[in-house]
């Protein structure tokens, strides 16, 4: 393939992309360095986090337990791992609040490798709330490593315990519908959240509040206060704003017959 170059070494047609890539990567790296030096960007509070508070409050009022799960994925996968981590951050927050107000918290787990992490997260949260003695390891329940085995045990758990709140944040697949259905049957207030696009609509219509897509990561970063995660969200925001500006400007210019932006993008 014949290659045309710009300035002798940059490949023609890829320059604009390279500039975008470098700007976004540079911004992300910059924010991460800043965060490592202690300057963490502020993250806005999401409506979903308020909904979690409301659900916990409701469960306490009714004297019922809270069930909080973090999806069925492992920690390692490139796309679903971060969702599990976000789910565990939410779990940490829920555990802390539950310990403070004295509500019973049950955590259903599917992955053997995630179980110790989940148990540790909850125990730490109880200790931080000064209620380390109230932590019960048997409430971190390993249900089954099989997808439908997990969901049928989870459904059984919902039926038996009749929780006041059922919080599901992480990567869910087909079990999302079974869990949300049973949760609403037993009258739990349900907060859900996933970045699995095909499951979002079902969570939206079957639960009381749903965190959509990337909100899951933001909620996780917000609640865990992990500086590097927050910083990389700030880097992504730079990309988002660049995209928005070009899209709006470009659309208007095209309408008046100018191809300026398209010409620049063709570099």
């Amino acid at each position: 393939m014949a290659v045309t170059t710009v300035l002798g070494i940059f490949i023609q047609g890829r320059v604009f992309g390279l500039v975008c890539l470098l700007v976004i990567m540079g911004a992300t790296a910059y924010f991460i360095r800043q965060a490592q030096a202690g300057k963490v960007p502020t993250l806005r509070r999401l409506a979903g986090v308020d909904a979690i508070d409301e659900a916990i409050g409701r469960a306490v009022e009714m004297g019922k337990p809270i069930i909080c799960s973090h999806g069925i994925a492992t920690l390692r996968d490139a796309t679903t791992g971060p969702q599990t981590i976000a789910g565990l951050s939410v779990l940490s927050y829920v555990a802390r609040r539950a310990a403070e107000v004295g509500a019973r918290l049950i955590v259903p787990v599917r992955q053997t490798e995630v179980w110790p992490v989940a148990a540790d997260v909850v125990e730490t949260a109880y200790k931080l709330a000064g209620k380390g003695s109230e932590y019960k390891v048997e409430d971190i329940q390993f249900l089954s490593s099989d997808q439908f085995g997990y969901s049928s045990n989870y459904m059984g758990l919902l039926m038996r315990e009749k929780p006041g709140a059922n919080i599901m944040i992480g990567a869910y697949w087909a079990e999302s519908m079974q869990l949300a259905e049973t949760g609403s049957r037993v009258g739990a207030m349900q907060i859900s959240g996933t970045a699995q696009t095909s499951q979002i609509p079902f969570f939206l219509v079957a639960t009381d509040y749903c965190l959509i897509g990337e909100e899951v990561y933001s909620a996780g970063a917000y609640l865990s206060k992990d500086p590097q995660l927050i910083a990389s969200l700030a880097g992504q925001d730079v990309g988002r704003i660049i995209a928005t500006i070009i899209v709006v400007l470009g659309g208007l210019l095209t309408t008046v017959g100018s191809k300026l932006i398209l010409d620049i993008m063709a570099w």
């Binding site: 992309g17 920690l75 490798e113 079902f202």
Partner: protein, 219 residues
């Protein structure tokens, strides 16, 4: 010696080098680097293919333990073990001794066991949808109502029964697909690109180590 080999910096360094070998020649025209990138792309497929037994061994470990300990339902683990081993053995690419992807046992297992099982496994979800449709899909607030109405219109536009009856149903479905759905997914696509770039930056800075977790003990 083993202390040096154990250092986490080695895999992180390897990750960074191999990332850059692929990225740089895509933008900057340097023939030798481009050749190296192509060579590695081919070479790495062999490394990858050789990991094929990892899944098999993991399964053997987990279910072997179940059987050894006679834990609950261990006889199901025996079934798993037998089929894993038989499938892996008869498929070994040794056509000279009659094994491989044309072996009759391999074909039988694939055509009459794997094929019906995996198709059926995913079709079970249809029943969950039907049940949830009845008992959980509620217009509990404005947003859920919009999803529900738009979803029902989409269902209707996918079923000839309705579109034959009133063709504009299809037009509505096409509009939902091409306008609000397109807009949502375009923003999600851009967001996914940004997420991937941020992941790459964290990896290049050596702070993203999620993929290096695990190992050592069984899964």
């Amino acid at each position: 010696m083993s202390n040096i080999l154990r250092r986490i910096e080695i895999p992180i360094f390897l990750t960074i080098v191999f990332t850059l070998i692929q990225v740089v020649p895509y933008y900057v025209y340097i023939q030798p680097l481009d050749d190296a990138a192509s060579y590695i792309q081919r070479w790495i497929l062999i490394v990858l293919a050789l990991a094929t037994f990892v899944g098999v061994i993991s399964i053997l470990q987990v279910h072997g333990k179940n059987v050894a300990k006679r834990s609950k339902g261990w006889y199901f683990s025996v079934i798993v073990l037998v089929f894993t081993i038989v499938m892996a053995l008869v498929g070994l690419p040794l056509a000279e001794v009659g094994l491989g992807d044309k072996n009759p046992v391999y074909l039988f297992l694939f055509n009459y066991m794997l094929q019906p099982l995996s198709g059926t496994m995913y079709s079970i979800i249809a029943f969950f949808i039907a049940s949830a449709a009845f008992r959980a899909f509620r217009a509990r607030n404005i947003e859920a109502s919009i999803v529900l109405v738009s979803g029902l219109l989409m269902l209707i536009s996918n079923a000839p029964l309705f579109t034959v009856f009133w063709p504009p149903f299809k037009t509505i479905g096409t509009w939902i697909f091409a306008v609000p759905n397109m807009a949502t997914n375009r923003a999600i696509t851009i967001g996914a690109a940004l997420g991937l770039i941020a992941l790459a930056v964290r990896t290049l800075m050596g702070i993203e180590r999620g993929y290096l977790r695990g190992g050592g003990a069984e899964q």
